[in-house]
Assembly symmetry: C2
Homo-oligomer: 367 residues x 2
């Protein structure tokens, strides 16, 4: 079999984003065992840094041993039992995925929808929640990777604080790129992925469970349908008992450790400002080239910009040419927007002025 | 947060095993996107090498995006529906885990047991299968990581070939260390982990589904309870459709690619002989130091030797001293054998004559 020599890419799609040489180097560190006292110290430090990133005091904050979608599944399978009601917001692919997973848990799903490119109308959502006060949870996507919409959460969180319904939030494309305030916003379960604004390769899903969420898990009548994702078993491995559950993905944890260190060194506020300011620069450049935007103004997600290229017939050919001739990856559209939009990521390490310049230069030559 | 500088370890426990610098270097390769044509070529090559390793023609042979336990769960959740009967063999921790996961699928589990350290009695198992001809599957652990027993499978496979019951085999600690002949032995679903005899960090679970197994999945009345592990959705991503399901753990796939290349370069027969011959050398050395063996003679697993140290009161203190003073990790016992045995791994890269010499020298000094 031939040597592994993939081409160099500038990753400006919806993830993975570029990974720092520091993270790559950390991932070439020889391994210690998954029950080695040194590894347990690393696990603790990863959890501590994740708490900082999620802006939470939740003890049960850790990386799921799977990609972001495993995080989504972990959130729902632990909370939902057959017959439960789940209010699930859908304004893109990841709301649809939440619906699908919730229904595989045997939940009765009540959807609240918004057109792709729009945020969920929080007033309408609250009215739905008022009609379903027995709902076990309300699940919503903070940053819809399929549309580039950033969903406001404060008002929703404030409403749910007095209710029995748990708030579950998908922050796969927002965490470490825009503020995610788990405790302030009253989020009960929040999950993310490593390959977006954290700029770590895909393979882990940071997640946090509030004490209230864990209490609900503790009152389940049935066992969690996934043994692998059962948070009460995982608690015994990631917590102080250190009871063997499964073998943690050691090298991924090394990468995550280094990625989190980089984030802490930069500081959350500086990192959010960088994403905000450079995404404005990108948007201005794209508008100047005749691109128009899918996401509603005021709700655009700095780490991911979804655009209609100026010539509809060029959408896919030019995207392919960017990859083959320039080594630049931008994402295509999903669902009804397949072949119609591009999704341009400015996440973590990718979010640098020089990368915007490279992309705009290439587009200027080709358009 | 401090720099990541774990100590050097000689990993002679039940996994992870030592990882070649070639695999670590592959894991520091900058990433391409998970839908990049170059990544898809890498995916195809990984699947092709896995087929060689599993000795199968099964098209649906791929790495699950999770650790070995996710592979176990993927095998069972796809096949089992509520009310199904599953015959599950238990002669150690991993048979217990199969039982637990099968019951979380709503299956009625019929256990066939053997004492820890003994293989399952195949005649007794076949009698049980004859009493439960409607059983959807029979699950058995080929290499019990908790005891170091290698389970013979040929006779069982030959019996089941004419039956409707599917054969599911856990080869987490055998694949790439001893022969695993999926097609010859009539195995329908076979899964493994990367961190044992493949000598790749933990994080992926190679798995293979026979056409017969996929036919059974296709006839399910209910959806698979895990969306993340649903083989019919994964087929569309790993197969020719290339439909986005989740983001593959790119860096883990790079590591697996290089680890599989190393295995192919060595050749399966040479690799199996190396494990067989060096484990005999280790066993001889341990016996000379007064160690006795848990696993029944004739059924000892070359990659993992479970032993009673000569002084019972030294089991845990000496194991800790090996780690702290010599940097050598050996595994402790599980379940009833916690604090009573050691599990010494000679897997993949760890399985080298010099490592046996290092361990025996340390033990000679301490005993």
């Amino acid at each position: 079999m031939i040597e592994l020599t993939p081409s160099q890419r500038l990753l400006m799609g919806p993830g993975p984003s570029n990974v720092s040489y520091r993270v790559l180097r950390a991932m070439s560190t020889p391994l210690v065992g998954h029950l080695d006292p040194e590894f347990m110290a690393i696990m603790d430090q990863v959890c501590q840094m994740l708490r900082h990133l999620f802006q939470t005091q939740n003890q049960m904050t850790f990386p799921v041993s799977g990609t972001g979608s495993a995080g989504l599944e972990a959130a729902l399978v632990n909370l939902l039992e057959p017959g439960d009601t789940a209010v699930v917001c859908v304004h893109g692919v990841f709301g649809q995925r939440l619906t699908e997973v919730a229904s595989r848990c045997g939940a009765r799903v009540v959807n609240v929808e918004a057109p792709w490119g729009q945020p969920i109308d929080v007033q309408q959502l609250i009215e739905t929640l008022q009609k379903h006060p027995q709902a076990k949870l309300c699940a919503i996507v903070h940053a819809e990777t399929s549309t580039g919409v950033l969903q406001p959460l404060e008002e929703l969180g404030a409403y749910l604080k007095g209710q029995g319904t748990l708030l579950v939030v998908d922050t796969v494309t927002s965490l470490a790129g825009v503020p995610v305030k788990v405790d302030d916003w009253g989020i009960d379960v929040c999950y993310s992925g490593t390959q977006k604004c954290l700029s770590v390769p895909p393979g882990c899903a940071p997640i946090t469970f509030s004490p209230k969420a864990l209490e609900v898990v503790g009152k389940r009548k049935s066992k969690v349908q996934s043994w692998y994702l059962d948070v009460r078993l995982l608690q015994k491995y990631w917590g102080s008992e250190r009871l063997y559950h499964h073998t943690a993905p050691i090298t991924m944890i090394y990468g995550l450790y280094e990625g989190l260190r980089i984030i802490l060194e930069e500081g959350l506020e500086a990192r959010f400002a960088r994403h905000r300011e450079l995404s404005a620069r990108l948007a201005q450049g794209l508008a100047g080239l005749g691109f128009t935007f899918l996401a509603k103004e005021g709700y655009r997600l700095p780490p991911l910009t979804s655009v209609f290229p100026p010539q509809a017939e060029l959408v896919e050919p030019l995207r392919k040419k960017l990859l083959s001739d320039y080594g630049i990856e931008v994402g295509g559209g999903l669902g009804a927007y397949a072949g119609k939009i591009w999704r341009i990521g400015l996440m973590g390490e990718t979010c640098r002025a020089q990368n915007i310049a490279i992309l705009l230069d290439a587009l200027g030559r080709e358009l």
